[in-house]
């Protein structure tokens, strides 16, 4: 018995009206410092997210070149001599030999191998220099051979993702925190500010803190099995033994430790939200303890575990108050000249027209995975309310962590699937006519 399509008899082939349409969806690529996100326009989340970090072994590839390991599976695998690198610097591409390979991998791994069939929309930070933008369009047309291309600002896209064409986008990324005021879908260039106090900074702070109080940071690959131990007691674990010459590189160890730090950020670290300022002395801390939310335990891969009290607030404080950052490691930002988040907002708003100010402050959007730090939005909210008192200041952050993480991508996805967007694509023909400089004219 068939309940389906009763008009079709079983011995008659269905008509073969074959499909001939060419509705091809665009690909949206949002390359960040930590992750590269790619997916089809019109979908609500990126299908493919690969780490921007890649592994490479010099001399192991063809003709003595370097052999690259891209994607989660490969980059985390334990290989002697594999260095972990990242092609980005301050949110923009620094290594043009590698970045396009990663982009391509992000698209081909889960989406499609036919790059030439789909228009490509990419995002860029608002401080991307024009040399880089031209390089980007060159790569996508010459190397990827895409039929059409557009370069959109991350800030604008993140605004779109929250349904705002006008507002102030606070994006907490891996490499930095950036503030982008947007109006009618255009970036107000004057008001763009940023500071290098993003997720990487936070990881460094936590690492420095661990070092300062002699907490041994281990990584999962070092441990074969662990046994429960009491807090602050030395770990009781079986460690992986490496033959001489087989040890992973320092950069690999650091990369793997960063994953543990990420877990710490997700589960233990917290932003101080008051009351009052974060207690700075032990005495203050003791008194603040009474009203504080108490300790949170964290277990390291080797089983070593500690309960963190005010320390877990202190490591994040540098984001808002740079002078309180830990400076016991190299390459830390200057605690005195770096702007904290509230100062950044302040500076950004200073350069915005007075008429627009109210409109923009009414739509403060917080995005970026770094903003998922426990208590982060509350703190930003408090800082803004204190700096700009008034009933019309409104801060919004998507409650859904997926939306917060991929806001830039999602905005791109929305943009590229809009009917009105079709006229904005830079087609291959236009590129051939005008050269890479067209990106400056068309992608504002």
């Amino acid at each position: 018995m068939s309940s389906l399509q009763p008009t079709l008899s079983s011995n008659q082939a269905p008509s073969t009206v074959e499909y001939g349409g060419d509705e091809i969806s665009a690909i949206v690529l949002d390359p960040g410092t930590a992750w590269i996100r790619a997916g089809f326009a019109g979908e609500d989340t990126p299908k493919s997210v690969i780490p921007a970090d890649y592994g490479c072994i010099e001399g192991a590839g063809e003709n003595g070149g370097r052999k690259m390991f891209i994607g989660d599976n490969d980059v985390h695998a334990l290989r002697p001599g594999m260095e972990i690198r990242n092609p980005m610097n301050d949110g923009i591409v620094a290594d043009w030999d590698t970045a396009p390979l990663l982009w391509r991998a992000a698209i081909t791994s889960r989406l499609t191998t036919e790059l030439s069939e789909h228009p490509l929309l990419m995002t860029e930070p608002s401080w991307n220099p024009s040399k880089n933008r031209e390089r980007t369009i060159e790569v996508v047309f010459e190397d990827f051979d895409v039929p059409a291309f557009y370069l959109a600002k991350t800030g604008v896209c993140a605004g779109f993702a929250s349904g705002k064409a006008t507002g102030l986008v606070i994006d907490v990324g891996a490499s930095n925190i950036s503030i982008t005021p947007i109006h009618d879908g255009l970036v107000l260039k004057k008001g763009c500010t940023r500071s290098p106090l993003g997720g990487t900074f936070l990881s460094d702070q936590i690492r420095a803190y661990f070092a300062a109080v002699n907490i041994p940071l281990s990584a999962h690959y070092q441990v074969l099995s662990k046994s429960p131990v009491e807090a602050w007691k030395p770990a009781d674990a079986v460690y992986r033994a490496f033959a001489p010459g087989e040890e992973p590189t320092d950069s690999y160890r650091r990369f793997q430790e960063d994953r543990v730090l990420t877990e710490f950020k997700e589960c233990t670290a917290q932003v101080w939200t008051g009351p009052g300022l974060l207690p700075s002395t032990a005495q203050d801390a003791a008194s603040a303890m009474l009203s504080s939310p108490g300790g949170r335990p964290f277990e390291f891969p080797d089983g070593f575990n500690v309960v963190f009290n005010t320390e877990r607030f202190r490591v994040t404080e540098g984001i808002f108050h740079p002078p309180s950052m830990l400076t016991s490691y190299q390459h830390h930002p200057d605690p005195n000249s770096t702007l904290g988040l509230n100062q950044l907002i302040h500076q950004s708003m200073k350069d915005v027209d007075i008429e627009l100010k109210q409109l923009i402050l009414n739509n403060v959007v917080i995005t970026g995975a770094g903003s998922l730090l426990y208590g982060f939005t509350d703190r930003v909210n408090a800082e803004i309310a204190a700096a700009f008192p008034g009933p019309r200041v409104r801060v919004m952050a998507a409650g859904n962590s997926v939306e917060r993480r991929y806001a830039g991508w999602l905005g791109g996805s929305i943009l590229a699937s809009l009917g009105a967007f079709h006229q904005l694509w830079i087609s291959r023909k236009e590129y051939d006519e005008h050269g890479p400089n067209i990106v400056e004219k068309r992608c504002k």
Partner: protein, 735 residues
């Protein structure tokens, strides 16, 4: 009532398919190996290998074919399918045909057995006289004309049956045993050869032979890209002419089968393992991983490395046998010492001396694989050692597998062509006995050959030593139901041959007596003994690799608060996980490496009371205090609550913001604090027998029923032809 729908589940090794949904959901009816052979013409594919007839075969075949054609002309008429045709011609050629039942009973992994089985069933009534003797030709051969190949472009409406053309052009034979040149169209869950893959689908489709109004549900491996899905959709509508088509993620199907909405599916496949976290039926696309290189095959290869004397197929069978087991990480491999201890317990009961000994010892101390094979040479030593062994062997037999040092399994083998003239090896099971050198003073005789991680089989017969043949063998002393073998000396003479025949039959009878499946005519059973290597399938590091990957996948799930749920609902499926003890060991590995034990620090911290002072009424955030089997002691629920429940502090600035925080930080803490495996559903009796490794297929049946029958497209659960005509292949993404 049977509901018409057709389910196809392609995999790297085996493709499962079934037509119709019986009242109770059953395991897949059709299993086909996922490989095709390039046809004679470029771009065409066949299900079995077709090659040009070899010298000598050719004339023979043509003659037979001609004869057959006349006889079978009538019977051929009704048949449309070229497979059947091949089959019938084969039947007609009589002598080359092995028994129909035998083919049907062959194990699913064995060549094209199933496809044959299906075809053979149709022509089964023809009652071709069976031949008892083994075929004298090198392999089963089937004749097929060159023009009838299963073309990729074939439109499935039946090929012409031009029997008359036969034999005029080149003569080609279908050679079932020849695996050479086979193209496996999927590798690591990805289609590597689309032409071949489509040909396979076509072949599957023809095998199950659905009507035109049968919609198709296909389970797709997670590695399929959007483009792959579009290609498939196009193929299904334009070549298979299906009226309706739906695709379902294979991992999601597992969840359907289990009847739960949230879980982590760990699908251990042939050359890869997929780890897929699913929240409320939503596959976490970004977190999911497909781990290439770690699957059942990795274990086979590792075993093969440990047992260099066994062929890969033999190792594969060993892996599938019940004696291959992965012991939990803590337990030591059984050594002579442990076996002795176990034997000592039962010592008073029995004392027998029988059977044959072995001279080969492999040392294994405290888990570290330190192998030394010691061959005793001196006559007295040998005798004593044998005595000792026999005693031990007898007791050892009664121990459970995991306490025994050696164990045996039945190996199914293809007979070799012309085997009758050779020494038949089924009477001479391989012994690769492993025992530590220390505990047996008698055995540590004068000569000791040290061969690290190699077990060297030697040959012994009762009393007499036999020179090594090309099949290096010795008599196995151990089989629960088996009496010791009568000695068989290699000889060419008639008496010995008859003896062998007898023995062989006896052996087969024994095999069937202990519940082994019957064999095809060209297969034999051989009893093989294996040492402690059988416990080391996971020595390749698969457990650690998978544990690391599972943790990583979990860490990539964006919603931190849901990770705990995912850890609590692990589902391990896939045929790679069939190895005994695999699931338990994998769990134990995760447990020992990633389990977060409740911190002792919070017990003493003074702020615990204040911490509990503002509990929110969100039941979801309290971890369910359940524990995985055999895990550490249960955490104190109060303690867990204290450590996971961050009290929700007052937000003095903007109460509106609080709403968000309650939602996504409610169970904000490190995971996993509990690791659990979901119990398989109990209401599918047919599945209980075969195991739940392929449970995705069950899920697909449930889904097919829901999509095609219950729902009937009301909520756009599948793509209809009309929709396809409008939207094209990309329309599949809207489903």
């Amino acid at each position: 009532m049977t509901i018409f729908s057709c389910i196809i589940y392609p995999g790297s090794q085996t493709t499962l398919a079934q037509l119709g949904l019986p009242e109770s959901f059953t395991p897949p009816k059709v299993r086909i190996l996922s490989r095709m052979f390039p046809g004679i013409e470029e771009g065409t594919w066949t299900a079995t290998k077709i090659r040009e007839a070899r010298e000598g075969e050719k004339e023979d075949l043509i003659a037979k074919q001609k004869a057959a054609m006349g006889a079978d002309q009538d019977e051929d008429e009704g048949d449309e399918d070229d497979d059947d045709e091949g089959e019938e011609l084969d039947e007609a050629t009589g002598e080359m045909r092995s028994t129909v039942d035998g083919v049907l009973a062959k194990s699913p992994t064995d060549g094209v057995a199933d496809e044959d089985g299906a075809a053979a069933a149709m022509v089964g009534e023809m009652s071709v006289p069976k031949k008892d003797e083994a075929p004298s030709t090198p392999a089963k051969l089937r004749v097929q004309e060159s023009t009838v190949t299963e073309a990729e472009e074939g439109d499935g409406e039946g090929d012409d049956d031009d029997d008359e053309d036969m034999g005029e052009e080149g003569v080609y034979v279908e050679d079932e045993d020849d695996e050479e040149g086979a193209v496996w169209c999927m590798k690591e869950g990805k289609v590597v050869d689309w032409g071949c893959f489509f040909a396979l689908l076509q072949h599957v489709h023809e095998t199950i032979n659905p009507t035109f109004h049968t919609p198709i549900l296909m389970l797709c491996p997670p590695n399929f890209s959007s483009r792959d899905k579009e290609l498939l959709t196009q193929f299904v509508f334009e070549k298979l002419k299906a009226p309706g088509f739906a695709m379902m993620d294979a991992s999601l199907a597992v969840l359907w089968a289990y009847g739960i909405s949230t879980g982590t599916v760990i699908d251990v496949g042939y050359e890869k393992t997929d780890v897929t976290p699913i929240l409320e039926f939503i596959v976490q696309e970004r977190a999911r991983e497909s781990i290439p290189g770690w699957g059942g095959d990795a274990m086979t290869r590792h075993l093969a490395k440990l047992l260099p004397d066994m062929k890969l197929e033999e190792v594969e069978q060993l892996k599938k046998s019940s004696i291959c087991e992965i012991l939990s990480s803590g337990s030591l491999l059984p050594t002579t010492g442990s076996v002795n201890a176990a034997i000592a317990a039962g010592e008073k009961n029995r004392r027998t001396t029988e059977s044959d000994g072995m001279d080969l010892d492999v040392e294994d101390e405290e888990g570290s694989f330190n192998v030394a094979a010691i061959v005793a040479a001196g006559k007295t030593h040998e005798f004593l050692a044998k005595k000792e062994k026999e005693k031990r062997g007898e007791f050892e037999k009664r121990l459970p597998n995991r306490d025994r040092e050696n164990n045996t399994f039945w190996l199914i083998e293809k007979k070799k062509p012309g085997e009758d003239d050779l020494i038949i090896d089924e009477n001479l099971p391989v012994i690769a006995t492993l025992a530590p050198s220390l505990p047996l003073p008698e055995a540590s005789g004068e000569t000791s050959v040290v061969a690290p991680s190699v077990s060297v089989p030697t040959i012994t017969e009762t009393g007499t030593e036999v020179p090594a043949t090309e099949i290096s063998d010795a008599i196995a002393p151990i089989n629960p139901l088996v009496l010791p073998q009568p000695p068989t000396a290699p000889s060419e003479d008639e008496a010995a041959r008859r003896q062998k025949e007898k023995d062989k039959r006896k052996e087969e009878r024994r095999a069937t007596a202990i519940g082994l499946p019957p064999l095809a005519e060209d297969e034999t059973y051989r009893e093989v003994e294996v040492g402690v290597e059988r416990f080391q399938a996971a020595g390749c590091g698969i457990l650690h690799a998978l544990a690391d990957n599972i943790w990583r996948v979990m860490a990539k799930v964006e919603d931190v608060s849901r990770r705990a749920e995912l850890w609590e609902s692990l589902i391990i499926v896939g045929n790679g996980s069939r190895v005994k003890g695999f699931k338990e060991s994998l769990l134990a590995t995760i447990q020992s490496k990633y389990y977060i034990s409740p911190s002792s620090g919070t017990i003493f911290s003074s702020e615990l009371p204040s911490n509990l002072s503002t509990p929110m009424a969100t039941g979801a955030s309290t971890p369910i205090p359940q524990n995985s089997s055999g895990g550490p002691s249960q955490p104190n629920p109060l303690l867990v609550a204290a450590t996971t429940h961050n009290s929700h502090q007052q937000n003095m600035y903007n109460p509106m913001m609080q709403q968000h925080n309650h939602h996504h930080h409610s169970a904000h803490s490190q995971t996993p604090t509990t690791i659990k495996v979901v119990k398989p559903p109990e209401y599918f009796p047919e599945w209980k027998d075969v195991g739940f490794e392929e449970v995705g297929f069950l899920g697909a049946q449930v889904a097919a029923k829901v999509l095609f029958v219950v729902d009937q497209g009301a909520s756009q659960g599948f793509l209809t032809r009309v929709e396809y005509n409008e939207g094209g292949p990309a329309a599949i993404h809207a489903i």
